[in-house]
Symmetry: C2
Subunit: 197 residues, 2 copies
């Protein structure tokens, strides 16, 4: 008898709490990737999440806060510096992380990055720089410190070159860099620079 009552219980139809938040974040990221940041609208995010704007504004006070939180949720922590890995492998790992971070999810994070750069001044730009670029550069600089004789004063410039190349790649109209292209940056640019000292 109880088994029969369970079978016929109505299926929950409203998402609440974390489930709805998940759906909203997914919608933001999807919209960033498909229409870009400038054309991302709360109307469309709500529709894509299968909810209404009122639900968005219950949790976030404005659009920028929503997008920032969705990106914060999306962006992975940069990989730790693996002490046992070679310099080359370490550099490959950092640039592969950055490549994936920026360009996965149809380039949602890169879209946000470029849009932020085109919007002055921008908290979002600062946020993305501090959350993505700076950690990546710092880890690359750490690898240089551990494995090379590059002087302190030269490290920031070299550390920035990898990320710079990946972003330039996409600003020039290409898509996500391939593994081969990342290897070319490491082997053809970063490693030679380290050996030069």
């Amino acid at each position: 008898m109880e088994a029969s009552a369970e079978v016929s219980a109505p299926v929950a139809s409203r998402r609440r709490g974390e489930a709805l938040r998940r759906a909203i974040f997914d919608a933001v990221i999807e919209q960033l990737g498909s229409v870009g940041y400038a054309k991302l609208s709360t109307n469309r995010v709500a529709a894509a999440a299968g909810t209404g704007k009122a639900a968005l504004y219950r949790r976030w006070s404005n659009k920028e806060e929503l997008v920032r939180d969705a990106l914060l949720d999306l962006l992975p922590e940069p990989p730790r510096v693996d002490l046992s890995a070679s310099l080359r492998d370490g550099l490959l790992a950092q640039l592969t992380y950055l490549n994936s971070t920026l360009f996965d999810s149809k380039g949602a994070a890169f879209q946000a990055f470029a849009a932020a750069a085109a919007d002055q001044p921008s908290e979002l730009r600062a946020f993305l720089h501090e959350t993505v670029s700076v950690p990546c550069q710092e880890r690359i600089a750490e690898l240089l410190r551990l494995h090379t004789a590059v002087p302190d004063k030269d490290r920031p410039l070299i550390a920035a070159a990898g990320p710079a190349m990946l972003m330039y790649h996409c600003m020039s109209g290409s898509l996500k860099s391939t593994d081969t292209q990342i290897e070319a940056v490491v082997d053809g640019l970063l490693l030679p620079l380290c050996r030069e000292r």
Copy 2:
């Protein structure tokens, strides 16, 4: 008597032809620099040019065409490769050109570049790439060919590094690179890369 008639002749009040076109282009560039590409509107461009939207649409069929033409008018031709200059001076000249091109006029061209990168797919992005980045890279590659032993297959990567660094610089929230920073890219990155071979 004739001198007297000249003094009292009415001053022309409506701009026509090239004068109005100039004013419109100036307004576009100013708006790109101040509100960025996403927020640039035909309403505001017309107002800033001291004219009406009808005058814009008489000449350009849409907003994108207007912006493209204004940028085409703004962007200077990259400096020719000076055969008598040293490699360092040649590289400095090309990167200084790129820096000025992208970041003068309150960064109007860079604004457009970043916005285009955030808008997929984009004719504007292709246009800017072909008009700005590609010529600069080609001239840098030519300098490498003239002055260094860098093999053919390595030149594109190295040639891209300078422009990449300048753009990354601004995407990270900084403004136009200083001469010192450009020199650092040349002396700390490009020249060492060339010597490595």
